[in-house]
């Protein structure tokens, strides 16, 4: 029986194969029972799509989903890393009191950051299909 984190990663890989072309697993590892990560890439039309998730022992997940154009410039990115700019956008002067908080945000092509709702891989694919 697969562990929850491992099972989620497997489902993500299968979803990637159904929705992207030329899927390649760049890195994948599991440390049973609770930790696993995946880093894969695939193609969506002419775009290169990069997908990364880590599932931790405490049940939390950090994700990163990115779309690159054919010149490898970032078209859009969604992640919840501990980005200092994202924290400043959310908390203003109090950002330093939330030092390692992970906040969902979007990277725009011009380098800006916008706060977003939590996103998962399926939501990301839906966003790509609806916006690119």
């Amino acid at each position: 029986m697969a562990w929850p984190a491992e099972e989620h990663i497997q489902q993500l890989v299968e979803y990637a194969h159904r929705n992207l072309r030329a899927v390649q697993i760049l890195r994948r590892d599991e440390d049973n029972p609770e930790r696993a990560f995946i880093y894969l890439e695939g193609k969506w039309h002419d775009y290169r799509v990069m997908v990364s998730e880590i599932h931790r022992r405490d049940g939390s997940v950090r994700y990163g989903y990115y779309v690159l154009d054919k010149d490898d410039r970032q078209v859009v990115g969604f992640d919840n890393s501990t980005d200092v700019t994202a924290r400043r956008l959310k908390y203003g002067p109090a950002a330093s009191t939330h030092l390692h908080e992970e906040l969902p945000h979007q990277h725009t092509p011009d380098g800006d950051i916008r706060l977003t709702e939590w996103m998962d891989f399926e939501g990301f694919i839906a966003w790509v299909e609806g916006n690119l």
Partner: protein, 112 residues
Amino acid sequence: MTTIAIDPKYIDVLNALGNVTERVDEAIRRYTVEQIASEITRYRREAAQFEVAYGMVYEVFCDKIAAEEGFTQNIRKEHPLWEADLNAWEFYATGLKRRLEQLENIHQEKKP
């Protein structure tokens, strides 16, 4: 303490070698240390790739991205997908730390 069933074919041999419980305990300890050491080597090797690429250890990198806006902007120029790297890096760096702690605990328990 967890009870483990041992195949009877080993019991006579272990009895001949000494205290069965002590022998089994030592065998499990050795096996566990061997497995942990193997993982430590692998995790250290994987984490080192990111340390070379980013020029620092994982903990320092996390502190910088959490606190220095200029650092984040600069790192993005050289590593546009650093957030994706971070997940793999975290996996190996925190795994390495955990395994080292487990190894230390085993060695501590062995001491009289």
